[in-house]
């Protein structure tokens, strides 16, 4: 029987998400963003809350993102690779990668620009954020054939819309949306990790037997 080549080419990236660790790392990033928004609500009026609101997400994505990425590699080296093997990934370059970055930049730019031009739409920022993140998960789910990403996408969209409809203040809306999304990702990641650990076991020492 001829192998499904396209499916085989997708497998290594599915494998990256098979143990759920990447979702747990992403949950750490989102909970840090939520914390930044929450801290903003606690600060007295002045320039400080805006600064925290601007820098917090940046620190979360760049700082915590890098730290979480490092932690994922360490845990994979201890848990995943001894069970189901090691894969070194190629860094995606070229037009596809540039297109993805451009699409994300355009979506965020359009959101920020629209809110700046029409302050009345501020209440809908969580809904728009939920939709952007949801579309990213839909795309990931489709590309990698991962059904649980569709659930995260649906949750992100629904949660963003509900938070917008609740008409809370901006920072609190952000805090609630990102905390909820983080919780959803943590549950999704933990379930995937539990299923992975149940289905696999570490290989015995000195078991490789390559050619």
């Amino acid at each position: 029987m001829a192998p499904d080549v396209e499916r085989a080419m997708r497998r290594p990236w599915q494998y990256w998400f098979e143990d759920g660790l990447a979702e747990l790392a992403l949950a750490a990033v989102f909970i840090t963003i939520a914390l930044a928004f929450y801290i903003e609500t606690l600060l007295p009026p002045g320039p400080l809350p805006s600064l925290v609101g601007m820098l917090g997400p940046l620190v979360a994505v760049l700082g915590v993102g890098r730290l979480a990425g490092w932690a994922v590699q360490r845990v994979k080296a201890r848990v995943t690779y001894p069970r189901t093997g090691y894969v070194a990934y190629r860094r995606e370059r070229g037009a596809g990668r540039r297109l993805q970055k451009a699409a994300l930049g355009a979506a965020v730019g359009a959101l920020v620009g629209t809110v700046a031009a029409l302050p009345a739409l501020r209440a809908w920022v969580p809904a728009a954020t939920g939709a952007i993140i949801g579309v990213a998960f839909l795309y990931g789910g489709y590309r990698l054939d991962l059904a649980r990403f569709y659930l995260v996408a649906a949750f992100s969209m629904a949660c963003g819309t509900l938070v917008s409809l609740a008409r809370l203040n901006d920072s609190l809306s952000g805090a609630i949306y990102f905390a909820a999304l983080s919780l959803a990702l943590a549950i999704s990641g933990a379930c995937a990790l539990a299923a992975y650990l149940r289905a696999t076991e570490p290989l015995a020492e000195a078991e490789d037997h390559g050619p």
Partner: protein
Amino acid sequence: MAHDLKEIAGVDRVIHEPARTLITALLYTVESADFTYLLRETGLTKGNLSAHLARLEEAGYVKIEKGYRGKVPQTTCSLTEAGRAAFRRYREQMKRALDSMG
């Protein structure tokens, strides 16, 4: 039609074997993968996988490196540039051949 048949007849026989198609497809999107990973993903036996990897190495399509991960021996496999080019060519040929069959 004769041209299509010539195209099918001209596909790379090293890659065309189903197990080796699977191995090259798995390795194409990554920098490298170890023997354990390939064993699990292909469902082949150790002996079979070793034989197919040796055939790919002999053709200059796969580079095999032996090392250690901690105290555990690790065999790492990666596609060479020639292997990547051959796999790309193979996919294009098969796509054209399948398209022409309608």
